[in-house]
């Protein structure tokens, strides 16, 4: 057990996870942030993606103690004031998802990607999301949601 302090969705959080506990399990079990989903536990499917210090991270491959002192954003942190983010809204408008299990990972990965690549085109977006697996949609609706979000963000800026 080690005491850690980190910022999660803008709030200071503390915990005492076992050294072997993954960040994903810490967020879900210790902080009750169950929006982050665990899809493969070996870093391939991307469902557990969260943003750590501005970068998308597979929270199943990172230990909770490695996140000590970091700033972590999870799916619960995107619409914290009750209003969907531009990306979330665009994904709703685009019928991006079906079962919703992969959704948090895609939303976090795409959020991180768009903040660095606001002008990305379809092929770039596909490549940026190719480390996230969705079994339901065939991806087109997800890509359309990201493209729509990028377009709306550009209109706003």
């Amino acid at each position: 057990m080690a005491d850690i302090t980190l910022t999660v969705n803008g709030a200071m959080r503390t915990g005492s996870p076992e050294a072997r506990k993954t960040l994903a399990d810490f967020l879900r079990d210790d902080l009750d942030l169950t929006g982050t989903h665990v899809g493969c536990e070996h870093g391939v499917c991307g469902a557990c993606t969260v943003i750590v210090d501005g970068r998308p991270v597979r929270s199943c491959l990172m230990l909770a103690i490695q996140a000590a002192g970091s700033e972590v954003t999870t799916i619960e942190g995107l619409a914290s004031d009750g209003e969907l983010s531009t990306l979330q809204q665009a994904m709703w408008d685009s019928h991006s998802f079906q079962c919703g299990f992969c959704t948090p990972g895609f939303v976090m990965q795409a959020t991180a990607f768009l903040s660095d690549h606001p002008d990305a085109g379809e092929q770039q977006i596909r490549e940026a999301l190719s480390g996230n697996i969705c079994r339901c949609t065939g991806y087109q609706s997800i890509i359309d949601g990201v493209l729509l979000a990028a377009e709306r963000a550009r209109e706003l800026s």
Binding site: K21, H37, A79, W92, H95, C99, F101, C102, L129
Partner: protein
Amino acid sequence: MTAIAAERYTGASIKRSEDPRILTGAGRYVDDIKLPGMLHAAFVRSPMAHARVLSVDASAAQELPGVVAVLTGADLDAITVPAPDPLLALIGGAGPTAEFTLLATDKVRLVGDPVAIVIAESRYLAEDGCELVEVDYDDLPPVMSADFALDPSSPPLFANLGDNISRPHSRNEFGEVASTFANADRIMDFHIDVHRHQNVPMEGRGCVASYDADLGLMTFYAATQSVHLTRNGVATRLGMEPDKVRVLAGDIGGSFGLKIGASREEQAVAAASRHLGRPVKWVEDRGENLTVSGQAREESFDVQAAISNDGDLLGLDVKMVIDTGAYPGMGTMVPAIIEGMLPGPYKLAALGFESTGVITNKATYVAYRGPWASETFIRERILDLIAKDLGLDPVEIRLRNVAPRTDPPAMMITGRPLAGTTTKESLERVAELVDLPAFRRRQAAAREQGRYLGIGVATFIEAAPGPRSEGPGGALGMESMRLRLTEDGIVELFTGQMPHGQSHQTTLAQIAADEFGVPFEQVRVVVGDSDVVPFGLTGGSRSATMTGGVTLHGTRQLKAKVLDFAAHLMEVSAQDLVISDGNVWVRGDPASAITVSEVAGRAAAGQFGADVDADLEVEATFDGGQGGWSGGTHCAIVDVDAETGLVKVERYVAVEDCGALINPAVVEGQIRGGIAQGIGAVLLERSAYSEDGSFQSATFMDYLMPTACDIPRIEIEHLETVPLDADVNFRGVGEGGMIVAPPTLVNAIEDALSPFGVRIYEQHLPPARILELIAAADPGQ
């Protein structure tokens, strides 16, 4: 066409009411359940494919701090009773009944077979405990192929059966098989294999069982396609009355046929909770999911085709062997469905069909999106092979063989009427959309430059739910729904559908809102509680017709009841009342309007005489009406790199007919998702075993899933040509994409490789296999 109401949500891509919760992390999946005092389970699993269990020593595990209990197969056997698989119990399998225990006691039958369950304060500790359980095995020869399973000398997996046959050999004939073959111009033979692959929902199986000893009640949180089948599976195994088991389900992270009933692991978790008097959670990890949750499709076919020199497919004689894996499951039911569907939309006049199911030391066969899909694969594959032999175009040979739409409808030789099928239209439309002659010119030019482009078409029909008929396939079954107007004016639908991505909370609300005359937001669709919803199952692409239909008719019944009550309140005749936009008013007198909510509130609060029915609730059933077929034609254009074997899907076009669309975006999502799984099945996915029975694709680095870079944009056009029913012409589209994409893609790949003389008799074509096919081909063909 279906006429519902003037102002329509139905037919529009209404935004999903499920999305705000899933986009914000507020969905509630089974792994999100946390109960006071909850324990966590993990399973000790066999590393061997086939072995006797000599001893299980749990003492070291039991001493590990944090481990609460270890229950072996023998322990569980003592606290449970034998029970059939709930799906098999419902539909009935074909074949002998294998005898086995809930967890392995005498022997293990596949890698991953559960031997003991460890229950601990955390999942981490439960897995630590598993490491400490000592199991002594004595190797038996594994049965890893259908050929060996068919050999009487193969060691039987189940002692009481004496052999490895799960479905005894049978043969049926439809039409004049012998004379059709005797009189045919040509007879061609094919051996076609379909490889083992699997559902792989992003959320695996899982449950939380919570037994209340004081009340004798089990509350079981599940990820399931049917809360009632899960309830039955838990109750029968625990020897409880079904009404003492309540199954609750929230959001479900996909299934595609996997999560039906209650698995052995889920039953064991329920038994452990009752034994310990504490809630127990088990959620499988990806390794468990890939290894033991279930797999599908390992089938082989010897096909003989009787054809005319002009390209008429006159008769088929098919011998099928299906590998149903280790334990009883859906596999034994599949051959009969394949037999019935084999003629497809074609004029095929004679069919001989024989099948055998075999038991092997591999994962149990489970339903996977279009479990009978191989009928379409082999039919659409051999049509292309025949066309090549005769020098015909693939569209031409299909148009030549399609049964014309007549009145009365043509009958499939296996017994069902081809009512309302639009195969011809979809074939013609696909040919137009891709401009076949222009493609052939481009293909020829590309070949000059050493690029291998190919085009493939395939067509299918899907009984979603199938036409009304008296023949095999029979009645459409019934769908039930309870509907009520709540006291605050919400139209509430209680359905046994258990959506896991299908968007029923949106689509059924669209239909009800239109039919009742309230805003979409004023309809609530209640799912996932076996105590309050009627029996049902999401599966078989049944919900569009069956549940869409019961929603429409049930809402009509409820509305009539509400109007009768409102007529009493408003002192007018019910015939003079209309409901729109959530208001009830006297026709022609908008000033008379009162809200539906007010009517509901008055019904709930008021006291009325015996002549007034203020109970604004109905129970409705629907038998499917006239039913109908879904279907369509798909076309793929591929670019095959003959140096690397890589296949790029350049274009994919689907022309589909699922009747009237409830929500086009939902329909298209189903179609695209199915196609993506089909593309994955052909280019990437395979559940692989070594000869000694070890499982070789237990991670996502070995079982390759299609990604956003593998699946192209998919162009979809809808035909809505032939309404059969006065009211309900919505048809299912859940499975069609997965059924027809594999032959579409394989046909395209073979077309691309035709300069090499490649002929393809299989479904799994990763780059290495493409290169082997090129190397082995005879360019003279």
